[in-house]
C-alpha cells in the first residue's frame, strides 16, 4: 500500500476528486495548507504598508491506495490538477505499513 499525497491549487479539488472516483478510489483527506515553491507570492498594501506574501494557500490531498494502483492515481491527479502555470503543485508517494477501518476492524487493502 502507498499514500499518495498531492499539493494542488484549491480550485482543482473537485476535478481531482472526480478523476480519483473514476478510478475506484473511495476516500480522500483534504487539508488547507500554505507553502511556497517556484510560484511567486503577491504584495498586499494596507494604508501604504506593503507586505510581500510569499506563502500561498494550497490544498493537500492524501489518498491511501494499493501499490499497483499508484501509477494510475498519479496520472489521474496530474491530468486533473494541471493548468500548465507555475504553482500547479507536487505529488509525493510514501509507503504505508498498515491500515485499519475503525468501524469493522478490517485491515490493510480491505480497509481502504
Amino acid at each position: 500500500m502507498k499514500i499518495v499525497m498531492a499539493v494542488i491549487k484549491p480550485f482543482k479539488l473537485e476535478e481531482v476528486r472526480d478523476a480519483l472516483t473514476a478510478l475506484g478510489v473511495h476516500g480522500l483527506t483534504v487539508t488547507e495548507v500554505k507553502g511556497y515553491g517556484r510560484q511567486k507570492g503577491h504584495t498586499e498594501i494596507y494604508r501604504g504598508a506593503e507586505y510581500a506574501v510569499s506563502f500561498l494557500p494550497k490544498l493537500k490531498i492524501e489518498v491511501a491506495v494499493a501499490s499497483e494502483l499508484v501509477p494510475q492515481v498519479i496520472d489521474a491527479i496530474t491530468a486533473a490538477a494541471r493548468t500548465g502555470q507555475i504553482g500547479d503543485g507536487k505529488i509525493f508517494v510514501t509507503s504505508l505499513e498498515k491500515a485499519v477501518r475503525i468501524r469493522t476492524g478490517e485491515t490493510d487493502i480491505d480497509a481502504l
Binding site: 498586499e44 498594501i45 494596507y46 494604508r47 501604504g48 507586505y51
Partner: protein, 445 residues
C-alpha cells in the same frame, strides 16, 4: 444663521460665530422656549454619537488589528466610553461648561455643577437662537458623548501593545487635564479661544487635533510594536472595519448636525456637508492611491472618508456645500500622504493612524474652516469676515491645542508609566492582548 448676528454681541464674542455657548439656568434668561422638535433632534443626535463610538469606532479599529488583539481594542473603546461617562457627570461637565472665575476662567471652569448639582428637568441650556433653549440634561448628555469619543480615538495609536490598566489610568488623567481645559477654552463663552473668535463648529480642535496629537505622543513614548516593518501586521478583518467606517459616518450626522443644537436649516447644512466632504475625501484618497500604487483599496476609500469627516467637523455648519467638497478633497489627498508617506519616512508606529487621520485631518479642517466659512466663498461665517484675519485666529487655536495636548500628554503618559506601566511584556505582546489582558479570545473556531 442671521440669528447669530443677534446673539454674538450678547456674548461679547467679537462678532464671530462660535460653535457652542454655555448653558444657563432658565431663570437667568427671559423665559427661553424649549422646543420639542429641537429636543428630539438633540436626543437623536446624542444617540447617534454613541452609535459612532460603540460600536462604530470600536469595530473600525478592531478590524484593523490582528486577530489576537481584536477584543483588547473593543474592550478599550467600551471601557473608555463608560469611564468618561461617569467622570463627565462627576466633574467633567462642570469644569468644561461653568465659569471658573477671574483669571483661570479662560482655561478651566469651576465645580459649581459637580455631580450635576442643581440640574433638574426644568434646567435649560441656550442654543444659537436667542430665547430658544434645550433641556440641560440633553446638552449634558450630548456633550458627554463628545468627551467619551475623544480619548477612545487615541486608543488606535498605541493599539496592540498597551496595558489595559494604562489605558484606564491615562484616560482619567487625560480627560481631566487635557480634554476639559481645551473644551472649556473653545466652547465656553469665557474661554480663551472662544474669546479670540476661533471657529470650531463641532470639535475639530477639541476632539480631533486633541486626540490625534495625544495619539502621536503615545505612539512615540510607548514605542513600536514587535515586528513593526518586518512582520505581517495586516488588518484581520476589513469587513468589520468597513462596518465600523459606515457606522462612524452615520453617527457623525449626530456629531456635526447635532452641534447646531436646533433642528433648523443650520442642522440641515451641517448634515449635507457631512455627506459631501467625506464622499469627496474618500474619492480623493482612492484616486491618489490608485495613481500611486496602481489599485484602489477599500481601506483607502474608507480611511479617506473618515479623514473627510474629521476635516468637515469644525466647518460643518459654516462651510457651503461646494466649500465642504473642496475641504474634503484636500483632506483626503493630504491625509493619504501623511499616512502612507510621512509616517513610514519618520518611522513612528501610530498603529491605526490616529495622528495621520485625526491629527492631520483636524489641522486641515481647523485652518480650512477659516477659508470655507467666508461669505465670499458661499460660507456662513458672520460679521465683518476677513479670511486672512480669521486664518490667523484659526492658526492660534491650532497651535494652542497642539501645545496643550502635546505637552500635557507627555506628562500624563509619564505619570501613567510610573503608576501602572505603559506596555505589556514582550511575551504578552506576542501572545496577544486578548489573552494577556482579558483572558479570552475573539474567535474560537
Amino acid at each position: 444663521m442671521k440669528f447669530r448676528h443677534l446673539l454674538m454681541p450678547a456674548l461679547g464674542a467679537l462678532g464671530l460665530s462660535l460653535a457652542f455657548i454655555e448653558p444657563t439656568l432658565a431663570q437667568d434668561a427671559a423665559a427661553p422656549t424649549v422646543n420639542k422638535g429641537d429636543t428630539s433632534w438633540m436626543l437623536v443626535s446624542t444617540i447617534l454619537v454613541i452609535l459612532m463610538t460603540i460600536p462604530g469606532l470600536a469595530l473600525f479599529y478592531g478590524g484593523l488589528v490582528r486577530t489576537k488583539n481584536m477584543l483588547s481594542v473593543l474592550m478599550q473603546v467600551f471601557a473608555v466610553f463608560s469611564l468618561v461617562a461617569i467622570l463627565w457627570v462627576f466633574y467633567g461637565y462642570s469644569l468644561a461648561f461653568t465659569s471658573g472665575g477671574e483669571g483661570v476662567g479662560a482655561f478651566i471652569g469651576g465645580f459649581s455643577k459637580a455631580f450635576l448639582a442643581g440640574v433638574t428637568t426644568d434646567s435649560t441650556a441656550d442654543t444659537f437662537t436667542k430665547g430658544v433653549a434645550i433641556p440641560e440634561f440633553t446638552f449634558i448628555a450630548f456633550q458627554l458623548t463628545f468627551a467619551a469619543i475623544t480619548p477612545a480615538l487615541i486608543v488606535g495609536a498605541f493599539a496592540e501593545r498597551i496595558k489595559f490598566s494604562a489605558v484606564m489610568v491615562f484616560t482619567g488623567l487625560w480627560l481631566t487635564f487635557v480634554y476639559l481645559p481645551i473644551a472649556h477654552m473653545v466652547w465656553f463663552s469665557e474661554g480663551y479661544l472662544f474669546g479670540l473668535g476661533a471657529l470650531d463648529f463641532a470639535g475639530g480642535t477639541v476632539v480631533h487635533i486633541n486626540s490625534g496629537v495625544a495619539g502621536l505622543v503615545g505612539a512615540l513614548m510607548i514605542g513600536k510594536r514587535i515586528g513593526y516593518g518586518r512582520d505581517l501586521l495586516a488588518p484581520h478583518s476589513l469587513t468589520l472595519t468597513f462596518v465600523g467606517a459606515c457606522l462612524l459616518w452615520v453617527g457623525w450626522f449626530g456629531f456635526n448636525a447635532g452641534s447646531n443644537l436646533e433642528a433648523t436649516g443650520g442642522a440641515a447644512l451641517a448634515l449635507i456637508n457631512t455627506i459631501l466632504a467625506p464622499a469627496a475625501a474618500g474619492l480623493a484618497w482612492m484616486t491618489v492611491e490608485a495613481l500611486g500604487k496602481g489599485k484602489a483599496s477599500l481601506l483607502g476609500i474608507a480611511s479617506g472618508a473618515v479623514a473627510g469627516l474629521v476635516a468637515i467637523t469644525p466647518a460643518a455648519g459654516l462651510a457651503g456645500p461646494m466649500g465642504s467638497i473642496v475641504l474634503g478633497l484636500v483632506a483626503g489627498a493630504v491625509c493619504y500622504v501623511a499616512v502612507t508617506g510621512v509616517k513610514n519616512a519618520l518611522g513612528y508606529d501610530d498603529a491605526l493612524d490616529v495622528f495621520g487621520i485625526h491629527g492631520v485631518g483636524g489641522i486641515i479642517g481647523a485652518i480650512g474652516t477659516g477659508i470655507v466659512a467666508a461669505p465670499s466663498l458661499c460660507g456662513y461665517g458672520v460679521g465683518e469676515y476677513s479670511i486672512s484675519g480669521q486664518l490667523v485666529t484659526q492658526v492660534i487655536a491650532v497651535v494652542v491645542t497642539l501645545a496643550w495636548t502635546g505637552i500635557g500628554s507627555v506628562v500624563l503618559y509619564k505619570i501613567t508609566d510610573l503608576i501602572v506601566g505603559l506596555r505589556v511584556t514582550q511575551d504578552q505582546e506576542r501572545e496577544g492582548l486578548d489573552l494577556a489582558d482579558h483572558g479570552e479570545r475573539a474567535y474560537n473556531y
